[in-house]
Symmetry: C2
Subunit: 126 residues, 2 copies
């Protein structure tokens, strides 16, 4: 992976904005610094960075993927009202892995958990 200014800005943008932006949101943000960047470059770099483990790509059903600069183990909850994605700690889910390893002949390589709910802000707006 060769250095590029565009990639550095993209990476920096995701890491320093813990809002779990979509590619398109990253694109808008990056354009303030790099006005001629193309959406294709944003996609290519977000994918590259997540393949290299420098970013996480979070799949959202029926909506755009989100990107997350936090690399430690945590999960997410999607607010049904406002669409914002929040971090959430789920304690230790590795017990599930253990259980499945015992009960099935699968080799588990990963899992994803996505919760849905109503965030405190949306609850406040009754």
């Amino acid at each position: 992976m060769k250095y590029s200014r565009q990639r550095e800005i993209i990476h920096h943008t995701v890491v320093h904005n813990p809002i779990h932006p979509t590619a398109d949101t990253v694109y808008s943000m990056v354009r303030t610094q790099e006005p001629n960047i193309s959406l294709g470059t944003v996609y290519r770099n977000l994918n590259l960075l997540s393949e290299q483990g420098l970013l996480r790509k979070i799949n959202i059903p029926n909506a755009s993927d989100r990107f997350d600069g936090r690399l430690d183990e945590h999960h997410h909850i999607l607010c049904e009202k406002c669409g914002q994605l929040f971090d959430i700690e789920l304690g230790d889910l590795s017990a599930l892995d253990e259980q499945i390893k015992k009960e099935s002949d699968f080799t588990i390589t990963g899992y994803q958990v996505l919760l849905t709910g109503i965030c405190p802000g949306c609850k406040a707006k009754h």
Copy 2:
């Protein structure tokens, strides 16, 4: 919801074929009985049936949605090699709900768990 022969065949197809078919697979299967059915009708009915709770729609990252006629609580594991989706029992995850309810101000409305791994069949083919 008015009766339609097409919808009945679609529903029957999903319920009696526990292979977690995609819309396109359902389309192929249904066409053997209903050669003039359109893909649009298949999509419309799969969505309608899952909205009514008569079917479950399972979101798969970077791939087509799958449909499941099993309505009881269970989860799924996607084989990375062959792409087949299998049922898996994860015991009681409601403890997670409890934990989150205590630790956060979110109202949890649902969660989805998708495991990835290598299925026994693919492991056998070394």
